[in-house]
Amino acid sequence: MSHDDSNDPISINRRRIMQGLAALPVLGLPGLSFGANLPTAQVNTTKLAVTDTEVTVGQLHSATGTMAISETGSIQAEQLAIDQINAMGGVLGRKIKVIKEDGASDWPTFAEKSKKLLINDKVAAVFGCWTSASRKAVLPIFEKENGMLYYPTFYEGLEQSKNVIYTGQEATQQILWGLDWAVKEKKSKTFFLVGSDYIWPRTSMKIARKHIEGHLPSGSKVVGEEYYPLGTTNFNSLINKIKVAKPDCIFIAVVGGSNVSFYKQLKAAGVTSAKQFLLTISVTEDEVLGIGGENMQGFYASMKYFQSLDNPNNKKFVEAFKAKYGPKSVIGDVTQAAYLGPWLWKAAVEKAGSFDVDKIAAASPGIEFKGAPEAYVKIHENHHLWSRTRIGQAQADGQFKVVAESPELIEPNPFPKGYQ
């Protein structure tokens, strides 16, 4: 991996002075010397797996099973971030050692492995999980064993934990601005909501419906709301229902293998971007790999990150990612969010001057990360990230063209009033 200190994108609150100069090569180095001389007994009072030279963290994703399709990108991004941090000298002068565990797309296995990481391996932090179900399965364990989880996926919200940093967007961040944009730019009045049948699409659609019916200009309405079991491969009847309803906007949260079937069949039924406006919150560059750019072309996605984002941080990130994982690899929203995890953890540790989970949790709010590929992010009091939402239009080559970006950072609001 090509890496030098100029790639150090980290900066934290207490070093505000340096932030303005973050792009300068040498300025990663203070992070190196900082704390390197702190004795282990001082930075680790809770018997975590931290030695004078090494700190152990866990990585818990599905490398096998149906979710491996999605989680592979997160595994790669986290590994990349950790390699970069190590190349810079690690955290508090300690190199990061990773213990990889396979959740195997099975929630009980996630629970078992998280226990193993926290109780047996005493890892200082865990980067992992993807589905809501796996997070829900491990959450009580993280809370009881007092571990720290960096969770990368955009998700339904309705959760907030001292022991979790949510590096993806919660539902309101991802959805509300996207719908506003659809009304403003695409003049959408009628919406057809489609989702896979589980908590994230259901909650997302609930929020979407409340927003459409309560907050968008009068006359906006939902003309259909449909859920299909995970793994459904046939959508012809659904597509006919959509044709009957003739919505201005199809709003989609279909996931997994179903995604591919949905878009291929949509195109085959003559529903193309030329005739129909479609906004999805579940298709990233990773999914387009399976769907095929030609089947997705012209449709829109509402995300906080697209690989094509034009900023220096992202250029470096994409370059480093491709150098490590091959020129054909793609980076989706979740992959980028997973990349943030180790960096945010490093920043929190350095701010707290300790690996102790309590101190990290307390230190996290307010931490800023200017080097994020998605550009500036900041950790909120509620352990979610302030972030911008963007609208991308799918291109034939599988990339998205960013057509709009929220002007402000959107505040994370996992328990949105009026949307429950």
């Binding site: 399709i69 079991p229 009847s237 293998g257 591919v260 069949q265 195109k267 085959a268 790999l289």
Partner: protein, 304 residues
């Protein structure tokens, strides 16, 4: 909604039912041969379909990179190749494992389950854990729109045509060829078939491999409507078994009837209720009918 629009929707919905019928039949056909005729519970059926899908991906990649002029026509050759690759893998697996298990049908389930795990991991390790998307020829994409408001999916028509050809081929082979005669004789009475000089071992191997080959064709065809990834096959396996069981395992006619019944039930109920409820209702109906008629829709009455 105007009358002509309702007519259009009605026609498209009718076509949706038919195309689901074709999909179910195509995925069930290979299994009907292996499970129905041989009694082998092939849990790796889905993975043989994945082999077919990856064959298309392989061909599409090679064509794109080396023979860009053939992009419009490679698909047909790839489907034929999918049959032979799946056939060869099936042949090998029959030779190495299945042939030792004919007397223990339930054990074939466990062994093929292991095969399915192993094959999924092979796909993941050697092709990659993410989904892929083969580039399909333009003529397979999009819809045929005879007039405004009516769109008939071309990939659906393609799958239907392919199903027709494969089903016809299987029926022809089973009832008109030497192989078919041998298969039917072996199913009816293995010992006697052996005694009259039929090499039942060879017949078994050929039958298993042909079943796998058809699964390969199905998987190849489904790249037009579904995903291609290490676990894509697992999306189809349960439906495939249901189709075959519901039809009455030993009868190809039954497999067809059951695929038709399930497809209509599913697609009509989906139109009037949510997808999840439609699925529950369809499955429940199947189980209730199977409880009342355990031998399946079609099974001949014989002296037991």
């Amino acid at each position: 909604m105007s009358v002509s629009e309702m007519l259009n929707i009605g026609m498209m919905q009718g076509f949706a039912g038919l195309s689901l019928f074709a999909v179910l039949l195509l995925m069930g056909l290979g299994l009907a041969i292996i499970f129905g005729q041989m009694g082998v519970i092939n849990m790796a059926h889905g993975e043989f379909m994945t082999i077919g899908a990856y064959t298309i991906y392989l061909f599409s990649t090679i064509t794109e990179n080396h023979f860009p002029k053939l992009v419009q026509s490679y698909f047909i050759f790839a489907i034929i190749a999918a049959f032979f690759i799946a056939f060869a893998v099936g042949w090998f697996i029959e030779w190495s494992l299945i042939r030792h298990l004919y007397k223990r049908p339930l054990d074939t389930l466990l062994a093929t389950w292991g095969i399915s795990l192993g094959m999924q991991q092979i796909f993941r390790s050697f092709i990659g854990p993410k989904e892929v998307s083969p580039t399909l020829p333009d003529w397979l994409m999009g819809s045929w729109s005879p007039h405004e408001g009516l769109d008939i999916p071309i990939n659906g028509m393609f799958v239907m045509a392919l199903t027709l050809v494969v089903t016809g081929g299987v029926l022809l082979a089973l009832y008109k060829s030497r192989w078919g005669l041998r298969v039917r004789a072996t199913v009816a009475n293995r010992t006697m078939a052996n005694a009259i000089g039929i090499n039942t071992k060879k017949t078994d191997r050929l039958t298993f491999a042909i079943g796998c080959g058809i699964a390969g064709i199905a998987g190849a065809a489904f790249t037009t409507i579904g995903s291609t990834g290490p676990t894509s096959g697992s999306l189809y396996i349960v439906d495939a078994f249901l189709v075959v069981t519901f039809g009455g395992a030993a009868s190809l006619l039954g497999t067809m009837a059951s695929a038709f019944g399930i497809a209509q039930m599913q697609s009509i109920s989906e139109f009037f209720m949510t997808g999840s409820m439609a699925r529950v209702i369809t499955l429940l109906t199947i189980v209730l009918i199977l409880m009342m008629r355990p031998q399946g829709l079609f099974a001949s009455k014989i002296r037991r």
